[in-house]
Amino acid sequence: MAASTAMRIYPFMPGGAAGSTKLISDAVVLSDLTGRPRFGLKGGGSAAWLAAQGVTLPAVNRIGDHRGMRVLRLGNEDILLLAEDAGETLAEVKAAWQAATAPKGYSSWREEGWAWMRLSGPGLAEAMSALCALDLRPQKFGADDIAQTRVGHIEAVTFRSPAGFDILFDVTASAYFARAVAAVAGHTGKHRG
């Protein structure tokens, strides 16, 4: 599919599907990274093609690094590149992939299918304990670990970022997710009431 010149509208942007939903910013801060550059490959040939580009692939459910991009290995043949601050590098990889001939895997369309949000703030640990059943304490869940699990009752991928926890989930549930996080944040410290 060719590159687009048209305007992209993500859920939390004005005119987006969740445009009227406010993101909380209190003891718990929820921020939206859905529009940030990322690119994923999935299916036979994906890992080999990336490796041929010099990308060192981590083990499944671990995060590696490639020229400032985070390399998320979600499955043997399911790799997602996140380029929060390395958009140009990502664009190069993407262009190389588009120009390449098969086998090269297939686009996973994660940049369209998944919202990318970040949870941070002083109430982070308490909020994550409420949102996710996994043991995410630092001694159990490291900086390069990935959990494909459930966050806020929906399927999600979560991992640590320097600021907090990043969460990838079904983009169509963006408004729901923001409400679920706000509800949890509203409860912190209030349970005896």
Partner: protein
């Protein structure tokens, strides 16, 4: 909440998984009489004891197998589908 060890994602609460039921032998449809075929469709692997069954880890959409005791609910082991033939 019971725990289940996903061969790909590790130890998780069982509510992250979906059961796809016991592994079933699939008879050759063209070499099976009608009554045998309907038996195949409706028969149930329900013996007290250990069954090998399909599970899906829903968040990662990974399918694997587990040996589980239908009476005690003990999960004896879990393994990737590629091992199924080795075990058979």
């Amino acid at each position: 909440m019971k725990l289940l060890t996903c061969p790909m994602n590790g130890l998780r609460n069982i509510d992250e998984f979906q059961s796809f039921g016991p592994v079933r032998a699939r008879p050759d449809p063209d070499a099976t009489a009608d009554t045998e075929w309907s038996r195949h469709l409706f028969r149930a692997e329900n013996r007290k004891g250990i069954v090998t069954e399909w599970w899906r880890h829903v968040p990662s959409n990974y399918f694997f197998l587990a040996e589980r005791d239908l009476v005690s609910n003990e999960i004896i082991c879990t393994f990737d589908a590629s091992e199924l033939r080795d075990r058979a």
